[in-house]
Every structure is written in structure tokens, then in C-alpha cells.
């Protein structure tokens, strides 16, 4: 690999969220990224060539990053008078590594739910039999959006080692083996089944009423913090399970319950075991956990 590998970022059907995320990365890390990679094309960065020129060129691409879902239907979406599927297939044949950035690029995301176009897919399905020149599997970075550090870690690992270990869904194990629950600052409230009574509060667990998917979502959101300081759950917003393949689900801010009992329980735990522990924990009313952490009126 070149000392400064080339990188092309293709935007397909997207809200631009993963680009926003990348541009919000830690500034030192972003500087390292700019210095370590030769960014041939990114629609939100200053480029010396157009997308059309990138497509018509024969030059090899070390890293092709794709943001957004893919469609062949030009009456819904086109770039430089081409379908994004055509662009993707053209670029992919020249790419050593392909990284799908975000849930839309991986499996279609919210766009795949658009019923008037049944031709919206993720990158891998759209590429059919085209494989990266390195023979490395297409790397899936699920998330809505993906944490910028997940993109950078993946790129730097591939640059240094040429390979990255993936899980069964072709996501980097280092980034997707943990649950969003791991490192959540509300875990004590989860243990003792103390609910949060509203969004944005410091106190209480968001799993019981607010729909938090932390205990069943593979992501390192509470391990690699957002903006280096926080996460959804830390500020009182439930995890909406955006790294999982059923995203987006209905009623994101509501815990589905049957006769007051959660329909889904934490990953890998039987309902019987979970309900047993819950019943015991709820028996005890821990005064400290039912008060404000910082009470300005006291």
C-alpha cells in the first residue's frame, strides 16, 4: 500500500449524517487522517476533481467509502447523470478496500423502507459479484450515524495491517462486540430497576419506559464517547439501536411491554432469569437512587 493511500468517499442516498459525523471528529485525529490519506474525492471537502472525473479515471482507489443507500433508479436519484449503482460498481472495480459507512450503506437503512422504489439496497448487495481487489470482505460500519472514531480506527487499522477482524455481520469486532449498555452511567439504575421519569434527566434507567435498546445493541457508544465526552444515554436520550439490522423500528421512544413486562429482555438472558432478578431488585427501594443526584433545592 502507498505510504499515503488514496481515498474516495461516495455519497449515495443519504441525509449526510455520516459526513457530519466525520467532520465532527476529534480535531487532532482528523488532522492525522488528512495527513495520512490522500483524499481524492469527498463531496463535503475541497476537491481538485469532480465525481464525474473520478468515475471516468482509471486510477486505483485504495479505500472506497460509501455513505448512503444504493439505487439504480435514476428518476429517484442520480449523480452526474448516472445512477449511484453504476457509479458504485465502476468505482468498486478499482478499489482495494470497500467500507460501507452507516446503516443506509450497509443494508439500506430508512431508505429501504421507501415503498415506491423496491430497488434500494446496501452496498454489498448492489455490488453483486464485484469484490474488493484486496479480497478483503466489504467492511460494514453500522450506525446512524457512525461514530467518527469508528471510521478512523478502521482506516488506520487497514492502513497499518491490511486486515481488520470482523464479526458475523462483517463489522469490526473491536468496535461492535460490546453493547451500548457497557459503560452506560445509568447502570446502577438498571440494576435496581429505577426508571427515568423523563428524557434529559441524569437519574434513572431509560430501558423500562423510554425504549432504550442499550442492553441489546452492539456498539461502543459508551466506550468510545461522542465528542470525546458523552453519549445518548449519558445525556438522557435512550439508545435507539441504530447499529442493529432492524433499525429503524417503530416507536423508538417506547418500551414495548405486555401486561407491564418488557417484551424484549437484555441480550442472551432468558426471560425467566431476567424476570427473577427484576422481581428481587424491585423489592428494595434504594433511597439514594430515588433522589436527584444534585438537588439544587436542598
Amino acid at each position: 500500500m502507498r505510504s499515503k493511500p488514496t481515498l474516495v468517499w461516495l455519497q449515495a442516498l443519504t441525509c449526510n449524517g455520516n459526513t457530519q459525523s466525520l467532520l465532527s471528529s476529534n480535531h487532532t485525529r482528523f488532522e492525522q487522517f488528512l495527513l495520512a490519506f490522500d483524499i481524492i474525492y469527498h463531496p463535503s471537502l475541497t476537491n481538485t476533481i469532480t465525481l464525474k472525473e473520478v468515475v471516468s479515471s482509471n486510477s486505483e482507489i485504495d479505500f472506497l467509502l460509501v455513505e448512503g443507500a444504493i439505487t439504480s433508479q435514476t428518476h429517484f436519484f442520480s449523480l452526474s447523470d448516472m445512477s449511484v449503482k453504476t457509479i458504485l460498481q465502476t468505482l468498486a472495480q478499482r478499489a482495494s478496500y470497500i467500507i460501507s459507512v452507516g446503516s443506509c450503506a450497509v443494508f439500506g437503512g430508512i431508505h429501504a423502507k421507501f415503498e415506491q422504489n423496491n430497488d434500494i439496497q446496501g452496498v454489498e448487495k448492489s455490488l453483486e459479484h464485484i469484490t474488493p481487489k484486496s479480497n478483503h470482505k466489504i467492511i460494514h460500519l453500522t450506525g446512524c450515524p457512525v461514530h467518527p472514531e469508528w471510521i478512523l480506527q478502521t482506516l488506520f487499522t487497514l492502513k497499518a495491517k491490511g486486515v481488520i477482524q470482523l464479526d458475523l455481520h462483517n463489522r469490526p469486532v473491536e468496535l461492535y462486540s460490546h453493547l451500548a449498555h457497557h459503560g452506560c452511567t445509568r447502570n446502577e439504575y438498571f440494576e435496581w430497576k429505577v426508571e427515568a421519569h423523563d428524557f434529559g434527566l441524569k437519574e434513572g434507567c431509560l430501558f423500562y419506559d423510554q425504549g432504550c435498546r442499550g442492553p441489546m445493541t452492539h456498539s461502543s457508544c459508551n466506550k468510545i464517547l461522542w465528542n470525546d465526552v458523552s453519549s445518548k444515554t449519558r445525556v438522557g436520550m435512550p439508545c435507539i439501536g441504530c447499529t442493529e439490522f432492524d433499525f429503524p423500528r417503530d416507536n423508538l421512544f417506547e418500551t414495548k411491554k405486555n401486561i407491564g413486562i418488557p417484551a424484549e429482555v437484555p441480550l442472551g438472558i432468558s426471560k425467566r432469569a431476567y424476570l427473577s432478578i427484576t422481581g428481587v431488585a424491585k423489592t428494595f427501594k434504594i433511597e439514594r437512587l430515588n433522589k436527584k443526584i444534585i438537588d439544587e433545592n436542598s
Binding site: K257, N258, I259, R272, G279
Partner: protein
């Protein structure tokens, strides 16, 4: 099960009968020792106090019911059929081992001060409550039962069964207890069933 565990179980089974017949305060450790043909001193090798024995006895008796309900929960039948099946099993227990239910009604519910330390809330009856939760949640998830507050459903379910066991214990029923089984199960089901 070790010899000591078997002995402890035997003591619990005997104490359940005595407690449920004579009441908690009217039953003494010497009474239980006598029923066990054991010395009073030896009894204390198994249970440190009458209160400790009482707490073990409530766990034991509700676990008998929890095992029955777990078996029913694991059957490949509808939630409605599960209610009918468990009601039959519950009333069978009331007839064959009345001390199991009598102890719950006449000792556990009536002498809360004995159980206030160590058996708070669902602590000593947790396994049974868990099985009720599983029965209700499964029924609601399959839309056989309507969605409602857990305690409203739980109270109705256990209240019906416990109340009827009490009537049986008071010997006021006109017919054999088992003849009421499907009637009670039907009432429970109607209170739970899903409505469009």
C-alpha cells in the same frame, strides 16, 4: 440432595402441616421436633430459629407451585389452556397437600411481622411470581390476553385462586373443589382475554 438437605426438607414439610393447622405462634419448635421424632436440640442444627424455618417454609411451598406453573408454561398449548391446566393443578394441590396453600394464606399473609426481614416484597415467593409473569406476558404477546397493568392482572389471577382455596379450607363449598376448577379458570380467562 445430601442427607442434611433431605432432613431439612422433611422438617419443612412437617412444620408446614403444623403451622397451617395451629398457626405460627401456637406451634413451637418442640412441637415440630416431636412430629419429627427428633430432639429439640438437634432441630437447631437445621434451623437457627422458628422464624428462619418459617421463611424457608414459604420458599418451599411457593416453589412447589412455581414448579407446577413452570411445567404448564412449558407445555405447547394456548395461554387459555394453560390457565385451565394450572387451575386444575392448583386445586389438586389444595386437596392433596392443603398445607401448601393453607400456610400461604394463614401464616404468610397473616403474620407479616415474621417475614418482614428477609422475605420483603416478592423475595421469598419470587420463583412463583416469575412464572405468573411469564404466563401473562406470553398470553399478551400472542394477543390471547389484553394488555393491562401487571398488578391488576396478577391480583385478579392469584386472588381468585387463593380466595377459592380459602373457601375450600373453610369447608363452605357445596360441591367437590375440583368441580369448580373450570368455572374459576373460565372467570380468570374472561378477565384476561384479548378484546378488539
Amino acid at each position: 440432595m445430601s442427607v442434611k438437605e433431605r432432613k431439612k426438607t422433611s422438617i419443612i414439610e412437617n412444620s408446614l402441616k403444623l403451622f397451617s393447622q395451629k398457626g405460627f405462634y401456637n406451634t413451637t419448635i418442640p412441637d415440630i421436633a416431636k412430629a419429627m421424632k427428633m430432639s429439640v436440640g438437634n432441630m437447631y442444627n437445621y434451623f437457627a430459629s422458628k422464624e428462619e424455618l418459617a421463611k424457608c417454609a414459604i420458599k418451599y411451598s411457593t416453589n412447589v407451585l412455581a414448579l407446577e406453573l413452570r411445567e404448564v408454561n412449558n407445555l405447547e398449548i394456548s395461554s387459555k389452556e394453560k390457565i385451565f391446566e394450572f387451575t386444575r393443578r392448583y386445586f389438586t394441590k389444595v386437596k392433596e397437600n392443603p398445607e401448601i396453600i393453607e400456610y400461604f394464606l394463614r401464616v404468610y399473609l397473616s403474620n407479616r411481622e415474621v417475614f418482614s426481614q428477609g422475605c420483603e416484597g416478592f423475595l421469598c415467593v419470587g420463583e412463583f411470581v416469575t412464572e405468573v409473569m411469564i404466563l401473562l406476558e406470553e398470553g399478551a404477546s400472542k394477543k390471547e390476553f389484553r394488555d393491562q397493568d401487571f398488578f391488576a392482572a396478577f391480583g385478579m389471577f392469584m386472588g381468585s385462586l387463593g380466595g377459592f382455596a380459602f373457601l375450600s379450607g373453610e369447608k363452605v363449598l357445596e360441591k367437590d373443589l375440583m368441580q369448580y376448577s373450570d368455572l374459576i379458570a373460565e372467570n380468570i380467562y374472561r378477565a384476561l382475554k384479548y378484546e378488539e
